[in-house]
């Protein structure tokens, strides 16, 4: 009996040492990948930071409204944020490759799904960035047009344009990422639909005079003399 116990213990010890002998090189491989990955990620971060500084990315982000948003949340500049993001994604990628090398059953699937998710993550961020840029551009265009056309509440119009575009963009980005896509689409459709209905009612009820004037101007119908006289009174001759 004692002999049996000793031989089982020896066998177990041998197996353990054998497993350790097989695991240790893989673990060292993972550590090496993590270290090499860190170095590559660091170099990538520096490269991305330089490239973004050269292309005045912070300025572009200022236009999108992203910079004020980050500043408000006490976060670093967009250049810093993007370069850090690239660093972490690259390093995490190397760490996951290393973990994959350990050969732990079940982890491989998660690692490959992470790499499968990366293109969608980048596409989502791309959509978000250019969507914010478009929201900023069109809301400013609406604000300027509203002010120059002497419309009431141009800031409200500008805010509405911005909100609608951001809603649209966020729902697109979430759909791309596959996060609660149905809920987001339904929420977006409801919000967008109700906003449009609200505007249609507001314009139809409150702005019928404005609509009439616009259509008359657009399609060239003669205006009553009293209105024309008023317009001439206001008219500047700039050139």
């Amino acid at each position: 009996m004692w002999q049996n116990f000793i031989s089982e213990l020896n066998r177990t010890m041998h197996e353990m040492v054998g497993s350790l002998g097989r695991f240790l090189p893989r673990f060292l491989e993972m550590l090496a990948l993590a270290v090499i990955g860190w170095l590559i990620a660091y170099v990538l971060k520096a490269l991305v930071r330089s490239a973004l500084k050269l292309t005045r990315f912070d300025k572009l982000s200022e236009h999108t409204g992203a910079t004020p948003l980050l500043r408000g949340a006490a976060l670093p500049s967009p250049t810093e944020m993007v370069s850090r993001f690239v660093f972490w994604v690259a390093w995490l990628g190397f760490i996951l490759i290393g973990i994959n090398a350990l050969g732990i059953v079940g982890l491989e699937e998660h690692v490959s799904s992470f790499f499968g998710f990366l293109p969608r993550l980048f596409a989502g961020l791309f959509i978000l960035f250019f969507g914010l840029l478009a929201a900023s551009f069109f809301s400013r265009a609406a604000l300027l047009s509203g002010v120059n056309a002497d419309l009431p509440s141009p800031r409200l119009i500008s805010w509405a344009v911005r909100t609608m575009i951001i809603l649209f963009v966020v729902s697109m980005a979430f759909e791309e990422l596959g996060i609660g896509s149905h809920t987001v689409i339904v929420a977006f459709a409801l919000t967008f639909g109700s906003l449009m209905l609200g505007f249609a009612l507001a314009f139809g009820l409150g702005g019928k005079e404005l609509a009439r004037k616009y259509l008359e101007r657009r399609f060239g119908r003669e205006q009553p003399p009293n209105e024309r006289a008023h317009e001439h009174e206001d008219e500047l001759s700039p050139l």
Partner: protein
């Protein structure tokens, strides 16, 4: 002649039938049926009366009028003229009307006319506005004579205008052009002007025709480029210019065509204006007082209200464009009651220069920068109207001169903000 490719086959055929000419008069039109007949008649009379020996052609480039403008031009071109009993045409006076693609755009019309002038090898070319009911036959003589007799390159008009007309020209384009490019031309954005065939070919060879300045504000761009190239510029007094009554003025469009083009030219010609240069003389032929004082009905109150409204509503935009002191000064100004409101010259000049620098740096979309200047211009226009309400012609001239001096004195500030130091 690669530029002939923009001309339609039929138009080229008509031009070939005309053959070489000495004088070409271009009339760009778009829905100008109310006035164009009268204008073409006056042009014809001017050519027959003052240039009976020269081979001449009138070319109408139309942007797709729906009011029969082209028919009216053709009718006016064949109607009998009674200039004077002893005046007979020695040569056939040709008239051609063509419709250009991609219109309406004054720049495309101008390009079409330039291409035609190039093809016909015209020695002198005049452009006349189709909406000038006051155009007289002697305008043609005054525009073309300095080119043919004195060998000048470019003839710009000087008009007698109401003191409250051309406010953007008087408050921005003229003083800024004068101070930046060192050339005192009263109408840098001319409606009626003339140029030599050689200069016309150089205009045509510019690479602007596919860009914005090749569609709108092209006349201003070409004038500035002629000044930068130190061409021989002359100004000719034409007479009274009245605005057309076709509809309310679109201030945003006017701002794009004038300030937008002027700001764009600063970037293209930085080397020319940033270093010291001798002023370019632009003598004025037969000049007379340029300001008239008839009664005018302008709603100043609305200008003031739109200025104050614009300053408060556009704050996020101005934060990107203006320096803090200028922005603060404007906000203080917008809080003043109407009777105490005054947009001082120095502040206006500083505002314009900061806008020019912001345009150069493209701190936001360039078109948005130009649009944001509109409400501020309304404030300046209010002050101009108030200051000159009871002013004589001489006082108005003195006020414009004072503004020009302010633009000149603050030119170093433009360089400072241009280079990023506020």
């Amino acid at each position: 002649m690669p530029e002939t490719s923009i001309l339609s086959d039929d138009f080229v055929r008509e031009l070939i039938n005309v053959g070489e000419v000495d004088i070409l008069v271009g009339v760009p039109t778009y829905n100008d049926g109310a006035t164009v007949g009268q204008v073409v008649q006056a042009v014809r009379a001017g050519l027959l009366q003052y240039f009976p020996r020269e081979r001449a052609v009138i070319i109408n480039a139309d942007g797709g009028s729906r009011d029969g403008t082209q028919d009216l031009v053709r009718a006016a071109s064949i109607s009998d003229l009674s200039v004077a009993p002893d005046i007979r045409a020695l040569r056939t006076l040709h008239s051609i009307s063509t419709r250009y693609e991609g219109g309406p755009a004054s720049g495309i019309a101008l390009r079409t006319i330039l291409a035609a002038a190039d093809l016909l090898q015209a020695r002198a070319c005049a452009m006349v506005a189709p909406d000038s009911p006051t155009l007289e036959p002697n305008w043609i003589e005054r525009l073309l004579r300095p080119l043919l007799r004195d060998g000048r390159d470019l003839v710009l008009p000087v008009y007698r205008r109401h003191k409250f007309e051309g406010l953007l020209i008087r408050n921005l384009v003229y003083p800024m052009t004068r101070s930046i490019y060192k050339c005192s031309v009263r109408e840098p954005y001319p409606a009626d002007f003339a140029f030599s065939g050689t200069l016309g070919s150089r205009f045509l060879a510019q690479d602007i025709w596919t860009q914005d300045q090749g569609r709108y504000g092209t006349e201003l761009w070409l004038t500035l480029s002629a000044i930068v190239e130190r061409c021989k510029v002359t100004q000719s007094f034409l007479g009274t210019k009245t605005r057309s009554e076709s509809g309310p003025a679109d201030l945003v469009k006017a701002m794009r065509e004038s300030a937008g083009v002027l700001f764009g030219s600063l970037e293209a010609n930085f080397a020319a204006w940033s270093s010291p240069r001798e002023p370019l003389e632009a003598p004025c032929v037969a000049c007379e007082p340029t300001v008239s004082l008839e009664h005018s009905r302008l709603n100043r109150k609305r200008l003031y209200q739109m200025f104050a409204f614009g300053v408060s509503e556009l704050e996020p935009v101005f934060l990107s464009i203006l320096s803090s002191p200028t922005h603060e000064a404007l906000k203080r100004l917008a809080k003043l009651p109407e009777e105490r409101f005054s947009y001082p010259e120095e502040l206006w000049v500083r505002t314009v220069y900061e806008f020019a620098a912001a345009y150069h740096k493209a701190v936001i979309g360039r078109d948005h920068i130009v649009q944001a200047l509109v409400p501020l211009f309304r404030g300046r226009a209010f002050t101009f109207l108030t200051e000159n309400r009871d002013a004589s012609a001489d006082q108005v001239e003195a006020n414009i001169e004072s503004l020009c001096q302010a633009f000149e004195q603050q030119k170093p500030y433009l360089l400072e903000v241009w280079n990023g130091r506020k």
